[in-house]
């Protein structure tokens, strides 16, 4: 099922993307010919059971795929607001590095320890800012506390080490780092997994504020349909490496077209009252 013709202001245009983990013929591709367009400023949810290829998709988008995973086909056209359109798969390392974090940011899973264990929190802000915006080196002392504030963390967290923070606090620090350079697109991979429910609510609220305050486009990857329900404008459902259905959140939950999507929706144990779209 192909999406409608991409409209020039789409921020991301994925076409026929294929990713394989082993070169032996016959083994199924982890991502099998995905076509997807992401509108600027929207929150696109990517749903699917674990093993459906959604995390692989995320990593492929960020071109962080590690051996033995390889992209075997397709293209990812990315249109950052302040520079020319570029195919993330074929662009040179140097320009890709230029795009990273200034235009394309990544919010890893809560359970992973993505923060450098031996560096203080403020240093983890500083290195990316100094790398991509050296001229703002002077403002660091003021910028870091402000960013921490946006995610509801006190300034003193800047002086602490990752192992001194709780899971939730770490996730919020990651979010704060994400928006440090106000990127065009943030790819969030299971941001709420492995966190308790109260912290999930705070994380989702902060994500929604980010989109509203900074106009950030957000690709939200989660197996939890509830998260999509609360946050996503549109939802793409993946099954065995392919996108089986894309649509507005209300349409997906109210009137799922694809049999797999329907099964997925029905499997949600308690259906809360849908928030009016």
């Amino acid at each position: 099922m192909t999406d409608r013709v991409s409209v020039p202001d789409d921020i991301l245009q994925i076409s026929d993307l294929t990713v394989r983990y082993s070169s032996r013929p016959g083994t199924p591709a982890a991502v099998d010919g995905v076509d997807l367009a992401v509108r600027r400023g929207e929150i696109l949810g990517v749903a699917g059971e674990s093993g459906s290829g959604k995390s692989t998709l995320a990593v492929a988008l960020l071109r962080l795929l590690k051996r033995p995973g390889r992209v075997t086909g397709g293209s990812i056209l990315f249109r950052p607001r302040d520079s020319a359109e570029v195919d993330l798969l074929r662009v040179g390392d140097k320009t890709l590095r230029g795009l990273r974090w200034r235009n394309l940011a990544y919010l890893p899973q809560g359970s992973m320890n993505s923060l450098n264990p031996v560096a203080r929190i403020r240093d983890q802000f500083a290195d990316v800012i100094v790398e991509h915006a050296p001229q703002r080196r002077g403002e660091l002392a003021e910028l870091v506390p402000r960013l921490l504030g946006t995610v509801g963390l006190p300034a003193r967290v800047g002086g602490m080490y990752p192992h001194e923070l709780s899971g939730g606090m770490r996730q919020r620090v990651l979010m704060a780092i994400c928006i440090a350079l106000e990127p065009d697109l943030i790819i969030a991979d299971e941001p709420t997994t492995a966190l308790d429910v109260t912290i999930q609510r705070v994380i989702l609220q902060t994500l929604s504020d980010l989109r509203n305050d900074f106009g950030v486009t957000l690709i939200l990857i989660s197996h939890d349909m509830g998260v999509h329900a609360q946050l996503a404008d549109r939802v793409a459902v993946m099954y065995e490496g392919r996108i089986v259905e894309v649509g507005d959140t209300r349409q997906i939950f109210k009137d799922p077209q694809d049999p797999y999507t329907r099964a997925l929706i029905e499997s949600i144990p308690t259906i809360e009252e849908r928030k009016a779209s």
Partner: protein, 367 residues
Amino acid sequence: MTSVVTTRADDKSEPNPTPTVRAVGVRSVLARHPLAAYAVRRFGLYLIEMWGALTIAFFFFRLIPGDPIQTFIQTLQQNYVYNVQASAEVIARYQHEFGLDGNIFVQYLHHMKKLIIDHDFGPSLINYPTPAQNVIMQSLPWTIGLLGISAVIAWIVGLGAGALAGWRRGKAGAEVATNLAIMLGHVPFYFVALILVYVFAYSLGWLPSRSAYDSNIPPAFSPQFIGSVLQHGILPAASIVIIGVFNWLLSTRMLMIPVLGEDYLLYAEAKGLRPGDILTRYALRNCYLPQVTAFGLSLGFIFNGNVLVEQLFNYPGLGSTLVTAIQQLDFNTILAVTDMAIISVLTINLILDLLLPFLDPRVKYWG
């Protein structure tokens, strides 16, 4: 063994490799500030180790058969200085002066008292009546220079090479270096010294193979003199550095590989940081800690080999003095050299251990 718990870098068996903080039975008094508790404990261990090592060294040399004064008088006889008949009284005087009178425990206490209180090892035999510590003071700077600098260079280069070998695992360059290190890692470095001296000093004649500097340059802190010392130091230092780098490469690579799979490296790459920064500030900084302690342990090993390197290059360091002292059975100088090596190696190990918390924040001390 130090009771430091660090992230078990190479143990991926636990599901979530986040660093574990173990607070086990911390004594209440020192509970509030664990660092001071550890410093006190480590210093206590240091003193015990020091006492143990000095005692082992003392009794070891004393239990070896052979009476230094008797040998000494024989050699004097050959140098036409002493008259055989008159030696009984002379032996007694020297016996006392060299602290060899009384039973072995009295000698031990005497030795320890003089060592700890007035840092005196007694007169040396090879350069009587100069006290032994003055004899070794002459050669100490040379050994510290040669051994110290080359050990540090080997450590730094080895760590860098190991990190790179781990980072570019599978690529040609890294694999060749790794296999070379495996092959030659344990070759004693005086073998390398032998080969180097024969190739570069004898056949090619590029580098000097003897002594520590060119004597027609007056020993002062002038650039020529330092240049000459460096030129003469290249071959001896090279042999220590080459093998040192191989060993450090292997061990760092082994520590590096598990760290490369960590999530924070992926995140750093996502951040678009320069590969060099990622390698040093993210990868290396997370796995180099065991190498700091290992550096301390390696000093004793390098001192052993250094004795041979100094012999091969006629380098005027502690090693040559030690061999001369042993050939002339000069107990005081032998003990002075050995004790000096023991004290310096143990002290450096203490300092390194105390530095650990400042090098890696995750390091916590448990009771």
